[in-house]
Protein backbone atom coordinates (compact mmCIF):
# COMPACT_ATOMS: atom_id res chain seq x y z
CA UNK A 1 0.00 0.00 0.00
CA UNK A 2 1.41 3.38 -1.01
CA UNK A 3 0.93 6.81 0.48
CA UNK A 4 -1.99 8.80 -0.82
CA UNK A 5 -1.65 12.55 -1.02
CA UNK A 6 -4.72 14.50 -0.04
CA UNK A 7 -5.63 18.13 -0.55
CA UNK A 8 -8.34 20.34 0.80
CA UNK A 9 -6.80 21.48 4.06
CA UNK A 10 -5.02 24.62 2.92
CA UNK A 11 -7.76 27.10 3.72
CA UNK A 12 -8.59 25.33 6.96
CA UNK A 13 -4.92 25.53 8.04
CA UNK A 14 -4.76 29.24 7.21
CA UNK A 15 -7.86 29.89 9.27
CA UNK A 16 -6.55 27.71 12.11
CA UNK A 17 -3.38 29.81 12.21
CA UNK A 18 -5.46 32.97 12.36
CA UNK A 19 -7.51 31.45 15.14
CA UNK A 20 -4.34 30.90 17.19
CA UNK A 21 -3.71 34.64 17.12
CA UNK A 22 -7.37 35.29 17.85
CA UNK A 23 -7.22 33.13 21.01
CA UNK A 24 -3.82 34.56 21.95
CA UNK A 25 -5.07 38.14 21.86
CA UNK A 26 -8.84 38.15 22.32
CA UNK A 27 -8.80 38.67 26.09
CA UNK A 28 -5.71 40.89 26.15
CA UNK A 29 -5.77 44.59 26.89
CA UNK A 30 -2.55 44.92 24.94
CA UNK A 31 -0.10 42.58 23.27
CA UNK A 32 2.78 41.42 25.48
CA UNK A 33 6.06 43.19 24.80
CA UNK A 34 8.81 40.65 24.14
CA UNK A 35 11.26 42.67 26.26
CA UNK A 36 8.90 42.22 29.23
CA UNK A 37 8.85 38.47 28.67
CA UNK A 38 12.64 38.51 28.46
CA UNK A 39 13.18 40.48 31.64
CA UNK A 40 10.40 39.13 33.84
CA UNK A 41 10.06 35.47 32.85
CA UNK A 42 13.76 34.99 33.39
CA UNK A 43 13.76 31.32 34.38
CA UNK A 44 11.46 30.34 31.54
CA UNK A 45 13.71 32.16 29.07
CA UNK A 46 16.71 30.32 30.53
CA UNK A 47 14.94 27.00 30.22
CA UNK A 48 13.94 27.56 26.60
CA UNK A 49 17.45 28.68 25.64
CA UNK A 50 18.93 25.61 27.31
CA UNK A 51 16.53 23.19 25.68
CA UNK A 52 16.77 24.93 22.33
CA UNK A 53 20.57 24.82 22.53
CA UNK A 54 20.77 28.50 21.60
CA UNK A 55 21.70 31.32 23.95
CA UNK A 56 19.61 34.20 22.62
CA UNK A 57 17.34 35.75 25.27
CA UNK A 58 15.65 38.11 22.78
CA UNK A 59 14.74 35.29 20.44
CA UNK A 60 13.64 33.02 23.30
CA UNK A 61 11.17 35.75 24.30
CA UNK A 62 9.79 35.94 20.75
CA UNK A 63 9.52 32.15 20.63
CA UNK A 64 7.66 32.04 23.94
CA UNK A 65 5.22 34.70 22.81
CA UNK A 66 4.65 32.93 19.52
CA UNK A 67 4.20 29.58 21.30
CA UNK A 68 1.77 31.09 23.83
CA UNK A 69 4.12 30.08 26.65
CA UNK A 70 4.66 26.44 25.65
CA UNK A 71 8.37 25.81 26.41
CA UNK A 72 8.59 22.76 24.17
CA UNK A 73 7.19 24.63 21.17
CA UNK A 74 9.44 27.61 21.95
CA UNK A 75 12.53 25.38 22.14
CA UNK A 76 11.50 23.83 18.81
CA UNK A 77 11.22 27.31 17.24
CA UNK A 78 14.68 28.26 18.49
CA UNK A 79 16.21 24.97 17.34
CA UNK A 80 14.61 25.36 13.91
CA UNK A 81 15.79 28.95 13.59
CA UNK A 82 19.36 28.16 14.56
CA UNK A 83 19.54 25.65 11.73
CA UNK A 84 19.14 28.55 9.27
CA UNK A 85 22.17 30.44 10.58
CA UNK A 86 25.82 29.97 9.67
CA UNK A 87 28.17 28.98 12.45
CA UNK A 88 31.32 30.91 11.80
CA UNK A 89 33.06 30.73 15.17
CA UNK A 90 33.98 28.48 18.07
CA UNK A 91 34.71 30.06 21.41
CA UNK A 92 38.00 29.81 23.19
CA UNK A 93 37.85 27.15 25.88
CA UNK A 94 35.81 28.55 28.76
CA UNK A 95 37.07 27.75 32.24
CA UNK A 96 34.05 27.55 34.58
CA UNK A 97 36.32 28.48 37.50
CA UNK A 98 36.40 32.02 36.03
CA UNK A 99 32.69 32.45 36.61
CA UNK A 100 31.52 35.75 38.12
CA UNK A 101 29.29 34.17 40.69
CA UNK A 102 25.86 35.44 41.77
CA UNK A 103 24.86 32.31 43.67
CA UNK A 104 26.89 29.55 45.19
CA UNK A 105 25.93 26.87 47.69
CA UNK A 106 27.17 23.53 48.90
CA UNK A 107 25.10 20.96 50.71
CA UNK A 108 28.17 18.83 51.43
CA UNK A 109 30.48 21.36 53.04
CA UNK A 110 29.31 24.06 55.42
CA UNK A 111 32.48 26.09 55.11
CA UNK A 112 33.70 26.62 51.58
CA UNK A 113 36.34 29.22 50.70
CA UNK A 114 34.56 32.49 50.02
CA UNK A 115 31.42 31.31 51.77
CA UNK A 116 27.98 30.38 50.59
CA UNK A 117 25.95 32.98 48.71
CA UNK A 118 22.26 32.32 48.40
CA UNK A 119 21.88 34.78 45.53
CA UNK A 120 18.55 35.02 43.73
CA UNK A 121 16.58 32.01 44.98
CA UNK A 122 13.22 31.13 46.46
CA UNK A 123 14.51 27.86 47.91
CA UNK A 124 13.96 29.05 51.45
CA UNK A 125 10.56 30.70 51.16
CA UNK A 126 7.10 29.40 51.91
CA UNK A 127 5.17 28.46 48.81
CA UNK A 128 2.37 30.91 49.47
CA UNK A 129 0.63 32.62 46.61
CA UNK A 130 1.69 36.26 46.69
CA UNK A 131 -1.33 38.33 45.79
CA UNK A 132 0.79 41.50 45.84
CA UNK A 133 1.98 40.39 42.42
CA UNK A 134 -1.28 41.84 41.08
CA UNK A 135 -0.39 45.32 42.30
CA UNK A 136 3.18 45.75 41.09
CA UNK A 137 2.22 48.09 38.29
CA UNK A 138 4.29 51.26 38.46
CA UNK A 139 6.11 50.15 41.60
CA UNK A 140 9.16 48.73 39.85
CA UNK A 141 11.31 51.86 40.03
CA UNK A 142 10.55 52.52 43.70
CA UNK A 143 11.25 48.89 44.57
CA UNK A 144 14.62 48.88 42.82
CA UNK A 145 15.62 52.16 44.43
CA UNK A 146 14.71 50.80 47.87
CA UNK A 147 16.81 47.70 47.21
CA UNK A 148 19.79 49.64 45.89
CA UNK A 149 22.98 50.02 47.85
CA UNK A 150 24.94 53.09 48.82
CA UNK A 151 28.39 53.89 47.39
CA UNK A 152 30.07 52.84 50.64
CA UNK A 153 28.40 49.44 50.74
CA UNK A 154 29.45 48.82 47.15
CA UNK A 155 33.06 49.77 47.85
CA UNK A 156 33.18 47.67 51.01
CA UNK A 157 31.99 44.62 49.16
CA UNK A 158 35.03 44.60 46.94
CA UNK A 159 35.45 41.18 45.43
CA UNK A 160 35.92 39.84 41.95
CA UNK A 161 33.01 37.46 42.33
CA UNK A 162 35.39 34.60 41.58
CA UNK A 163 35.77 31.77 44.05
CA UNK A 164 37.93 28.71 44.26
CA UNK A 165 35.95 25.71 43.16
CA UNK A 166 35.17 23.03 45.73
CA UNK A 167 36.30 20.40 43.25
CA UNK A 168 39.77 22.01 43.11
CA UNK A 169 39.89 21.92 46.88
CA UNK A 170 39.11 18.19 46.83
CA UNK A 171 41.86 17.70 44.26
CA UNK A 172 44.35 19.60 46.42
CA UNK A 173 43.50 17.35 49.34
CA UNK A 174 43.93 14.21 47.25
CA UNK A 175 40.24 13.35 47.55
CA UNK A 176 39.68 13.40 43.84
CA UNK A 177 41.61 12.11 40.87
CA UNK A 178 43.81 14.52 38.92
CA UNK A 179 42.74 14.34 35.31
CA UNK A 180 44.72 15.72 32.43
CA UNK A 181 43.09 16.82 29.22
CA UNK A 182 43.56 14.46 26.31
CA UNK A 183 43.25 17.41 23.89
CA UNK A 184 40.59 15.67 21.84
CA UNK A 185 38.21 17.77 19.77
CA UNK A 186 34.79 17.44 21.40
CA UNK A 187 32.05 15.48 19.70
CA UNK A 188 29.41 17.75 18.16
CA UNK A 189 25.89 16.30 18.20
CA UNK A 190 24.70 19.05 15.85
CA UNK A 191 27.16 17.96 13.16
CA UNK A 192 28.13 14.32 13.73
CA UNK A 193 26.01 11.19 13.71
CA UNK A 194 25.55 9.80 17.18
CA UNK A 195 26.53 6.17 17.71
CA UNK A 196 26.42 4.19 20.93
CA UNK A 197 28.40 3.85 23.08
CA UNK A 198 29.28 7.50 22.63
CA UNK A 199 31.88 9.80 24.14
CA UNK A 200 31.70 11.80 27.36
CA UNK A 201 31.71 15.09 25.44
CA UNK A 202 28.69 13.97 23.37
CA UNK A 203 26.85 12.91 26.52
CA UNK A 204 27.48 16.27 28.17
CA UNK A 205 26.33 18.18 25.10
CA UNK A 206 23.13 16.14 24.86
CA UNK A 207 22.40 16.47 28.56
CA UNK A 208 23.14 20.18 28.49
CA UNK A 209 20.34 20.77 25.98
CA UNK A 210 18.02 18.11 27.41
CA UNK A 211 14.48 18.77 28.57
CA UNK A 212 14.29 19.83 32.20
CA UNK A 213 11.23 17.75 33.11
CA UNK A 214 12.40 14.56 31.44
CA UNK A 215 15.85 14.82 33.01
CA UNK A 216 14.40 15.57 36.45
CA UNK A 217 12.08 12.55 36.20
CA UNK A 218 14.90 10.20 35.21
CA UNK A 219 17.25 11.58 37.88
CA UNK A 220 14.46 11.20 40.43
CA UNK A 221 14.01 7.57 39.41
CA UNK A 222 17.70 6.98 40.01
CA UNK A 223 17.47 8.45 43.51
CA UNK A 224 14.31 6.52 44.39
CA UNK A 225 15.90 3.16 43.76
CA UNK A 226 15.75 2.56 40.01
CA UNK A 227 19.43 3.40 39.78
CA UNK A 228 22.60 3.79 41.75
CA UNK A 229 23.04 7.53 42.16
CA UNK A 230 21.81 9.60 45.11
CA UNK A 231 24.28 12.44 45.59
CA UNK A 232 24.83 15.51 47.70
CA UNK A 233 25.73 18.82 46.09
CA UNK A 234 29.46 19.47 46.29
CA UNK A 235 28.92 22.87 44.73
CA UNK A 236 26.17 24.61 42.82
CA UNK A 237 27.05 27.92 41.25
CA UNK A 238 25.18 30.37 39.07
CA UNK A 239 27.02 33.18 37.36
CA UNK A 240 28.39 34.82 34.27
CA UNK A 241 31.03 33.37 31.98
CA UNK A 242 32.84 35.54 29.49
CA UNK A 243 32.91 34.26 25.91
CA UNK A 244 35.96 34.98 23.77
CA UNK A 245 36.74 33.89 20.23
CA UNK A 246 39.98 34.08 18.24
CA UNK A 247 40.22 37.49 16.56
CA UNK A 248 39.38 36.64 12.95
CA UNK A 249 41.96 39.10 11.59
CA UNK A 250 44.72 37.69 13.80
CA UNK A 251 44.35 34.22 15.33
CA UNK A 252 46.90 34.95 18.04
CA UNK A 253 44.62 37.56 19.53
CA UNK A 254 41.19 37.12 21.11
CA UNK A 255 38.09 39.24 21.23
CA UNK A 256 35.35 39.36 23.84
CA UNK A 257 31.88 38.80 22.38
CA UNK A 258 29.74 38.92 25.54
CA UNK A 259 28.89 36.87 28.58
CA UNK A 260 26.42 34.09 29.30
CA UNK A 261 24.62 33.24 32.51
CA UNK A 262 25.13 29.59 33.41
CA UNK A 263 24.48 27.08 36.18
CA UNK A 264 27.17 24.59 37.08
CA UNK A 265 26.82 21.69 39.49
CA UNK A 266 29.22 19.13 40.87
CA UNK A 267 27.62 16.34 42.82
CA UNK A 268 29.39 14.00 45.20
CA UNK A 269 28.05 10.52 44.74
CA UNK A 270 30.25 7.92 46.34
CA UNK A 271 33.88 7.06 46.79
CA UNK A 272 36.09 4.45 45.31
CA UNK A 273 39.60 3.10 45.69
CA UNK A 274 42.04 4.07 42.97
CA UNK A 275 45.01 2.09 41.62
CA UNK A 276 47.21 3.37 44.46
CA UNK A 277 44.64 2.18 47.03
CA UNK A 278 43.73 5.78 47.89
CA UNK A 279 40.11 6.62 48.46
CA UNK A 280 38.62 9.14 46.03
CA UNK A 281 35.23 10.77 45.57
CA UNK A 282 33.26 10.07 42.40
CA UNK A 283 31.65 13.26 41.12
CA UNK A 284 28.86 14.04 38.69
CA UNK A 285 28.84 17.12 36.45
CA UNK A 286 26.05 19.40 35.26
CA UNK A 287 26.20 22.61 33.24
CA UNK A 288 23.34 24.51 31.65
CA UNK A 289 22.55 27.83 30.02
CA UNK A 290 20.89 30.32 32.35
CA UNK A 291 19.73 29.69 35.90
CA UNK A 292 18.24 26.22 35.74
CA UNK A 293 19.37 24.51 38.90
CA UNK A 294 17.16 21.43 38.97
CA UNK A 295 18.19 20.59 35.42
CA UNK A 296 21.88 21.05 36.23
CA UNK A 297 21.54 18.75 39.27
CA UNK A 298 19.60 16.20 37.22
CA UNK A 299 22.30 16.39 34.56
CA UNK A 300 25.00 15.67 37.16
CA UNK A 301 23.04 12.68 38.44
CA UNK A 302 22.43 11.28 34.96
CA UNK A 303 25.99 11.98 33.83
CA UNK A 304 27.34 10.08 36.83
CA UNK A 305 24.78 7.33 36.41
CA UNK A 306 25.87 6.80 32.81
CA UNK A 307 29.44 6.31 34.02
CA UNK A 308 28.32 3.30 36.06
CA UNK A 309 27.26 -0.09 34.78
CA UNK A 310 24.02 -1.79 35.71
CA UNK A 311 20.57 -2.61 34.47
CA UNK A 312 18.57 0.39 35.65
CA UNK A 313 17.08 2.75 33.01
CA UNK A 314 19.39 5.61 34.00
CA UNK A 315 22.44 3.44 33.35
CA UNK A 316 21.34 2.83 29.76
CA UNK A 317 23.06 5.49 27.67
CA UNK A 318 20.86 5.12 24.61
CA UNK A 319 17.67 5.12 26.69
CA UNK A 320 18.60 8.29 28.59
CA UNK A 321 20.18 10.33 25.82
CA UNK A 322 17.62 9.61 23.12
CA UNK A 323 14.60 10.34 25.31
CA UNK A 324 15.53 13.58 27.06
CA UNK A 325 15.55 15.81 24.01
CA UNK A 326 12.58 18.17 24.04
CA UNK A 327 12.37 18.63 20.29
CA UNK A 328 12.74 14.92 19.50
CA UNK A 329 10.28 13.73 22.15
CA UNK A 330 7.66 16.40 21.59
CA UNK A 331 7.99 16.16 17.86
CA UNK A 332 7.49 12.42 17.86
CA UNK A 333 4.55 12.38 20.22
CA UNK A 334 2.81 15.31 18.58
CA UNK A 335 3.23 13.85 15.09
CA UNK A 336 0.47 11.45 16.08
CA UNK A 337 -1.94 14.35 15.66
CA UNK A 338 -1.15 14.57 11.97
CA UNK A 339 -3.18 12.50 9.47
CA UNK A 340 -2.53 8.75 9.73
CA UNK A 341 -5.42 7.77 7.46
CA UNK A 342 -3.38 5.26 5.48
CA UNK A 343 -2.02 3.54 8.59
CA UNK A 344 -5.45 3.31 10.13
CA UNK A 345 -7.11 2.22 6.87
CA UNK A 346 -4.69 -0.70 6.58
CA UNK A 347 -5.57 -1.77 10.13
CA UNK A 348 -9.26 -1.56 9.29
CA UNK A 349 -8.71 -3.61 6.14
CA UNK A 350 -6.96 -6.33 8.10
CA UNK A 351 -9.67 -6.47 10.77
CA UNK A 352 -12.44 -6.67 8.15
CA UNK A 353 -10.59 -9.40 6.28
CA UNK A 354 -10.18 -11.34 9.51
CA UNK A 355 -13.89 -10.85 10.31
CA UNK A 356 -14.88 -12.19 6.86
CA UNK A 357 -12.59 -15.21 7.27
CA UNK A 358 -14.15 -15.88 10.66
CA UNK A 359 -17.66 -15.64 9.20
CA UNK A 360 -16.73 -18.13 6.44
CA UNK A 361 -15.40 -20.60 9.03
CA UNK A 362 -18.57 -20.23 11.14
CA UNK A 363 -20.87 -20.80 8.08
CA UNK A 364 -18.94 -23.95 7.09
CA UNK A 365 -19.13 -25.39 10.56
Amino acid sequence: MGYVAVTGGQRAIEKANQLVDQYRLQDAEKALETNEIQSQLRLLIDRVMGEGGLYAPEYAAIALKQAEGDPAEAAFLLRAYRSTLPRNYYSRLIEPGDMRVIRRISSSFKDIPGGQMLGPTYDYTHRLLNFDMRNEKGAVKEFLERLGLGEKEIENASSSGKFQKVIDLLREQGLMAERTSDDQIPFDITRDKLNFPTTRSARLQLLSRGETGAMTALAYSSMRGYGAVHPTIGELRVGYLEVHIPYPLDDDDSIYIGEILTTEVETINSFTQNDQDDVEFMLGYGMTFGQNEVKAIAMAILERSLETSGSSPTQDEEFVLLHIDSVEANGFVSHLKLPHYTTFQSMLDRIRTAQKEQEKIEVKS
Binding site: P86, R87, R100, I154, G284, Y285
Partner: protein
Amino acid sequence: MKKSRLTKILIEGDSQLIKDLASQVENNYLIQTEKPPQTGLTMVKVKDSISNNPFYMGEVLVTECTVSINGTFGMSVIMGEKAETAYQIAIIDAAMNSNLPMTKDWFHLLLQEEKNIDKRQQKELAMVNQTKVHFNTMEDYNDKS
Protein backbone atom coordinates in the same frame (compact mmCIF):
# COMPACT_ATOMS: atom_id res chain seq x y z
CA MET B 1 45.36 47.83 24.61
CA LYS B 2 44.71 44.15 23.88
CA LYS B 3 41.76 43.31 21.68
CA SER B 4 39.98 41.26 24.37
CA ARG B 5 40.11 44.19 26.78
CA LEU B 6 39.10 46.74 24.15
CA THR B 7 36.14 44.68 22.91
CA LYS B 8 34.92 44.06 26.46
CA ILE B 9 34.84 47.80 27.13
CA LEU B 10 33.07 48.48 23.85
CA ILE B 11 30.48 45.74 24.28
CA GLU B 12 29.74 46.15 27.98
CA GLY B 13 30.15 49.91 28.07
CA ASP B 14 27.70 52.73 27.46
CA SER B 15 26.25 52.53 23.96
CA GLN B 16 26.64 56.30 23.60
CA LEU B 17 30.43 55.99 23.86
CA ILE B 18 30.80 53.67 20.87
CA LYS B 19 28.29 55.74 18.95
CA ASP B 20 30.40 58.84 19.55
CA LEU B 21 33.70 57.16 18.70
CA ALA B 22 32.32 55.61 15.52
CA SER B 23 30.81 58.98 14.50
CA GLN B 24 34.21 60.65 14.84
CA VAL B 25 35.64 58.20 12.34
CA GLU B 26 32.65 58.33 9.99
CA ASN B 27 32.82 62.12 9.88
CA ASN B 28 36.46 62.10 8.78
CA TYR B 29 37.02 58.95 6.76
CA LEU B 30 35.28 56.91 4.12
CA ILE B 31 34.03 53.65 5.59
CA GLN B 32 33.86 50.72 3.24
CA THR B 33 31.44 48.02 4.41
CA GLU B 34 33.10 44.71 3.58
CA LYS B 35 30.53 42.49 5.26
CA PRO B 36 27.32 44.15 6.43
CA PRO B 37 26.05 43.20 9.90
CA GLN B 38 24.58 39.73 9.85
CA THR B 39 23.56 37.22 12.47
CA GLY B 40 25.21 33.86 12.92
CA LEU B 41 26.24 31.38 15.58
CA THR B 42 29.21 30.78 17.82
CA MET B 43 29.63 27.39 19.45
CA VAL B 44 30.51 27.63 23.14
CA LYS B 45 33.28 25.30 24.25
CA VAL B 46 33.46 24.70 28.00
CA LYS B 47 35.87 22.74 30.16
CA ASP B 48 34.18 19.88 31.98
CA SER B 49 35.51 20.29 35.52
CA ILE B 50 35.56 16.55 36.24
CA SER B 51 37.49 15.21 33.26
CA ASN B 52 39.21 18.53 32.38
CA ASN B 53 38.26 17.88 28.76
CA PRO B 54 36.21 20.29 26.66
CA PHE B 55 32.64 19.81 25.49
CA TYR B 56 30.26 21.89 23.39
CA MET B 57 27.61 23.37 25.61
CA GLY B 58 25.49 25.03 22.94
CA GLU B 59 25.53 27.99 20.60
CA VAL B 60 25.12 31.71 21.11
CA LEU B 61 23.52 34.08 18.67
CA VAL B 62 26.00 36.68 17.41
CA THR B 63 26.05 39.60 15.00
CA GLU B 64 29.20 40.14 13.00
CA CYS B 65 30.36 42.92 10.73
CA THR B 66 33.51 43.82 8.78
CA VAL B 67 34.47 47.25 7.45
CA SER B 68 37.62 48.82 6.08
CA ILE B 69 39.20 52.27 6.14
CA ASN B 70 41.69 52.91 3.34
CA GLY B 71 42.20 49.20 2.92
CA THR B 72 42.69 48.41 6.64
CA PHE B 73 40.10 46.03 8.00
CA GLY B 74 38.21 46.14 11.24
CA MET B 75 35.60 43.73 12.45
CA SER B 76 33.28 42.85 15.28
CA VAL B 77 31.45 39.85 16.65
CA ILE B 78 28.99 40.50 19.47
CA MET B 79 26.35 38.45 21.18
CA GLY B 80 22.72 39.08 20.26
CA GLU B 81 21.05 40.71 17.28
CA LYS B 82 22.74 44.13 17.33
CA ALA B 83 23.41 45.32 13.82
CA GLU B 84 24.09 48.96 14.67
CA THR B 85 26.44 48.16 17.55
CA ALA B 86 28.30 45.58 15.46
CA TYR B 87 28.82 48.16 12.71
CA GLN B 88 30.05 50.83 15.14
CA ILE B 89 32.49 48.46 16.86
CA ALA B 90 33.84 47.31 13.50
CA ILE B 91 34.53 50.97 12.61
CA ILE B 92 36.31 51.54 15.92
CA ASP B 93 38.32 48.36 15.37
CA ALA B 94 39.33 49.49 11.87
CA ALA B 95 40.32 52.90 13.24
CA MET B 96 42.49 51.24 15.89
CA ASN B 97 44.05 48.89 13.35
CA SER B 98 44.78 51.91 11.12
CA ASN B 99 46.28 53.85 14.04
CA LEU B 100 44.19 56.87 13.11
CA PRO B 101 45.36 59.98 15.00
CA MET B 102 42.03 60.39 16.81
CA THR B 103 42.40 56.99 18.49
CA LYS B 104 45.14 58.43 20.72
CA ASP B 105 42.49 60.54 22.44
CA TRP B 106 40.27 57.53 23.04
CA PHE B 107 42.47 55.78 25.56
CA HIS B 108 41.36 57.72 28.63
CA LEU B 109 37.70 57.49 27.56
CA LEU B 110 38.01 53.74 27.29
CA LEU B 111 39.71 53.48 30.68
CA GLN B 112 36.95 55.55 32.24
CA GLU B 113 34.32 53.33 30.68
CA GLU B 114 36.14 50.28 32.00
CA LYS B 115 35.86 51.74 35.49
CA ASN B 116 32.13 52.27 34.97
CA ILE B 117 31.72 48.64 33.93
CA ASP B 118 33.68 47.47 36.98
CA LYS B 119 31.52 49.63 39.21
CA ARG B 120 28.31 48.23 37.74
CA GLN B 121 29.53 44.68 38.24
CA GLN B 122 30.72 45.55 41.73
CA LYS B 123 27.25 46.79 42.58
CA GLU B 124 25.71 43.48 41.55
CA LEU B 125 28.31 41.59 43.58
CA ALA B 126 27.65 43.80 46.60
CA MET B 127 23.99 42.88 46.42
CA VAL B 128 24.89 39.21 46.13
CA ASN B 129 27.24 39.56 49.10
CA GLN B 130 24.26 40.51 51.24
CA THR B 131 22.99 36.96 50.79
CA LYS B 132 26.16 35.41 52.21
CA VAL B 133 25.39 32.87 54.91
CA HIS B 134 27.06 33.27 58.28
CA PHE B 135 26.75 29.89 59.86
CA ASN B 136 26.54 29.65 63.65
CA THR B 137 26.80 26.30 65.27
CA MET B 138 23.93 25.89 67.68
CA GLU B 139 24.45 24.69 71.25
CA ASP B 140 24.09 20.98 71.88
CA TYR B 141 20.63 20.02 72.86
CA ASN B 142 20.54 17.49 75.63
CA ASP B 143 17.26 15.63 75.57
CA LYS B 144 17.95 13.79 78.86
CA SER B 145 18.05 16.85 81.09
